[in-house]
Symmetry: C2
C-alpha cells in the first residue's frame, strides 16, 4: 500500500500559475497508506515541509531511513492508517519525482533548471487538488502538515474550503517573517555563490553545487533547533578528542554534526529545488489575494481546526500560530489550540513529542464522529 506512485495530471489543460505562466502536463509522485473507504470520506492529506517528500511513513529510497513522519503515520499511530487513508504527494518544485527543476521539460526534452517557473504555495496546492480529484475524493477528511506543510494546509482552507472537513496546521504562519525570509535568502545566496551551480544548468555537467547546498542546509539546521537544545545536546563537547587541536578541523561535536548534516543532505536533495521551494515559502502570504485580510482569506471555510505550536520554536513561534487561531475564532469556527512545552525547537513536529501525538489522535478521533 505504500509504494511510490507517479501520476500525470493537468494533461488536458495546463495549470495556470500565480506568476502568469502555464505548467502542464504535470507529474506528481505520491505515496498512500491505509485504505480509502467506500464513500471516500476517510482521506487525510499530509503536506511535507521544505526538504520533506512523499516518503512520510516508508523507508526513504536514497537514505534508507524511516519516513519523516513514521512516528505519526501508521497502524495505531496518531494518524491511524487502520482508520484513515493517508495521501502524501511530493510538491511541485520538489525533487522526488514531481514536476520540478530537475525533471524534463517536455517542451525542450532537457531538464527545466532555472527555466522552471517560480511557483507559490498556492500553485503547489492547485497541483495537489488535481491529485485529489484524480483519486475521486470530493472532500478530504483532514489536511495536515508542519512548517511549509502548514502553509499548504492554510492555503487549502482558503482556496478550496469546500474540499476540507478538518485541518491541522502545525508550527507555521500566515506569512513568512522577515527573519525567515532572511534565512532563506542566506541559503539561496550560499547555493548561487557556488560556481558549480552554473546558473542552475548543472544537470548535464559533472559538477553540482554540493558545497553551496551543504552550507544552505547547515544554516537551516541551526534554525530548526532551539538554543537550549543545542546547548544540552552538544554543549562545548569535543569530537573524539580530549584537547583543542588549534586547527580548522571539527574540534567541537556541534561542528562535526553540522558538517554531517550538510554532507548527507546533498545526496538526497536538488539545489534548484531548494531555491524554488524557499522562494515559494518567502512569497507565501495567505491574504495576498484577499487585500491583506485574514478574515477574508478564511471566510468560506467551515472546517474544524487544530493548531499546534511548540514553545522553543523560534522560526514559527507560538505568537504566529496564535494569529491563525485568532482569525478562526473571530470567524466562529470550531478551533482548538495547543502549545507543546518542549526544547526541541522548530523540529519538534518531527520528534517524539507524546503530548503532540495525543493531541493529534484526540482531535482526529473526535472529528471521526462527524462521519
Amino acid at each position: 500500500m505504500n509504494e511510490n506512485k507517479i501520476v500525470k495530471l493537468a494533461t488536458d489543460k495546463p495549470l495556470t500559475l500565480d506568476c502568469g505562466k502555464s505548467l502542464g502536463p504535470i507529474q506528481t509522485a505520491y505515496t498512500t497508506y491505509g485504505s480509502l473507504n467506500a464513500n471516500k470520506s476517510n482521506a487525510i492529506l499530509v503536506c511535507h515541509a521544505l526538504t520533506g517528500d512523499q516518503y512520510v511513513a516508508s523507508s526513504h529510497p536514497i537514505t534508507k531511513k524511516d519516513g519523516w513522519w513514521s512516528k505519526v503515520v501508521g497502524p495505531d499511530k496518531p494518524i491511524d492508517t487502520n482508520k484513515f487513508f493517508v495521501i502524501c504527494p511530493n510538491v511541485i518544485g520538489g525533487c522526488m519525482g514531481s514536476t520540478g527543476p530537475k525533471e524534463i521539460n517536455p517542451e525542450t526534452n532537457k531538464e527545466f533548471g532555472t527555466d522552471f517557473p517560480v511557483i507559490t504555495i498556492a500553485d503547489m496546492v492547485r497541483a495537489q487538488k488535481l491529485l485529489i480529484e484524480h483519486l475521486e475524493i470530493k472532500k478530504l477528511f483532514c489536511v495536515t502538515g508542519g512548517s511549509m506543510g502548514g502553509m499548504l494546509v492554510l492555503e487549502w482552507l482558503s482556496k478550496f474550503p469546500e474540499m476540507v472537513h478538518s485541518a491541522i496546521p502545525i508550527a507555521t504562519a500566515t506569512n513568512h517573517s522577515t527573519q525567515n525570509i532572511a534565512l532563506n535568502e542566506l541559503a539561496r545566496q550560499a547555493i548561487m555563490a557556488d560556481p558549480n551551480w552554473q546558473s542552475g544548468l548543472y544537470y548535464q555537467s559533472d559538477k553540482t553545487p554540493l558545497k553551496g547546498l551543504s552550507v544552505a542546509r547547515m544554516a537551516a539546521h541551526i534554525s530548526y533547533l532551539s538554543k537550549d537544545a543545542l546547548q544540552n545536546k552538544f554543549g562545548r563537547n569535543l569530537q573524539d578528542k580530549n584537547e583543542l587541536e588549534y586547527s580548522f578541523d571539527a574540534d567541537f561535536e556541534i561542528e562535526s554534526y553540522l558538517r554531517h548534516q550538510g554532507y548527507t543532505f546533498v545526496d538526497r536533495f536538488d539545489a534548484n529545488s531548494y531555491l524554488y521551494i524557499t522562494r515559494a515559502m518567502d512569497y507565501f502570504d495567505v491574504t495576498a489575494s484577499h487585500n491583506g485580510s485574514l478574515i477574508d482569506a478564511f471566510k468560506k471555510t467551515n472546517a474544524k481546526v487544530l493548531c499546534v505550536s511548540f514553545t522553543s520554536d523560534w522560526l514559527y513561534p507560538t505568537s504566529e500560530n496564535k494569529k491563525i487561531v485568532k482569525v478562526f475564532n473571530a470567524l466562529g469556527l470550531n478551533v482548538s489550540f495547543i502549545e507543546i512545552e518542549t526544547e526541541g525547537g522548530h523540529d519538534s513536529f518531527l520528534l517524539n513529542e507524546p503530548k503532540f501525538f495525543e493531541a493529534l489522535k484526540g482531535f482526529l478521533n473526535s472529528t471521526l464522529k462527524d462521519l
Copy 2:
C-alpha cells in the same frame, strides 16, 4: 591625536601562544584619542568585536564611514576623551595592520595565509598587554568592549588583574554557546566552500573568496538583529517595486539589505581573518586554565565592574551576562549590572541607546573619583 599608528612588539622575545607555537616580532596597529595624564592613570582600552578594528572614533580608511563607536568615544561623549586617553588596537589575527594571516611572515617573506597559527582570545590579550607596556602604562583605568570585545575584557580581568582598575564587559559571555559556535562554523564553511579561498593561499592570486565571505557576513548579520527589529524595519516590504517579480532577484527589502551587507563587507575584511577570529571566539572559555571554575578565573581581580546586556540580544543573552555578574558578586567585588530594554538585538551596543550611554558615563564618572 587619532591617526593610525603601527608598532613592532615582542621584538626581543616572541609571544608564546596557547597553541604552543611562537609568534614574533608582532605588529600592532592602533589608534588613540585624548591625552594620557602625567601619572598615566586615565587610559581606557577599548577592545573591538569580530569585524571591528582600531578605527573606533575616526573615519574608516576604506569605507570612509564614522568609527564604529563614534557615538560613544569622543569629547563629551560617554567615554569622554576630554578626560580619558583611549587606546584601541586591532587584534592580532585581524586585517587592519596588526599581525594576521594577510601580513607578511618574516620567516618566509610571504603572506602567512593559513600558516598563521590558530590564536585565542588570551593570545590577543597577551599582544595587547605588550602594547600597554610599550605605552608605559602600568594600570588601565578601564578595559571595555562588546561581544568579542567583552571576551577580551574578561580575559584581561583573569590574566592581568593587577593591570585593570575597572572593566565594562558588554553583551558577552564567559564562553561561546553551542549556537554561537554553530553560527561561526557555518560562516567558516561558507568561506572554505568558495574555491577562490584556495586553502587560504589567495593573496598572490587574482581570485579571492569574496562570495564565501559575503555569505558568511549575511549569516552573521541575521544573528546580530532581533526578530522584532527585522520585522519592524523591513517587514515584507518590496524593494523598489510594487509586485513580486517571480524571480530570484531581490524582491524583498531584507534580501537587498543582506546582499548589500555582504557585498560591502568584503571590501574591508579578509576572509582568513574571519576564519581565525571566529575560531578564537569559539575556543574562548575564560575558565579554560582554571579547571572550569569561574571563581578561580577571577579570584585575583579587584576591579570595579559594570556589566551590560540588551533584552533582544539572542547571541549573548542577558542570562549569559548575568553569569559574569554572579561570579563577581560571589567574589564580593563592586559590580553593577544593567539590562537595556531594546529591540536592537546584539548590535545594540553599536546603536544609539541613550540609557546605555548614561550607564557608561555614570560608571566612568563615579569610578573617576578613585583616581
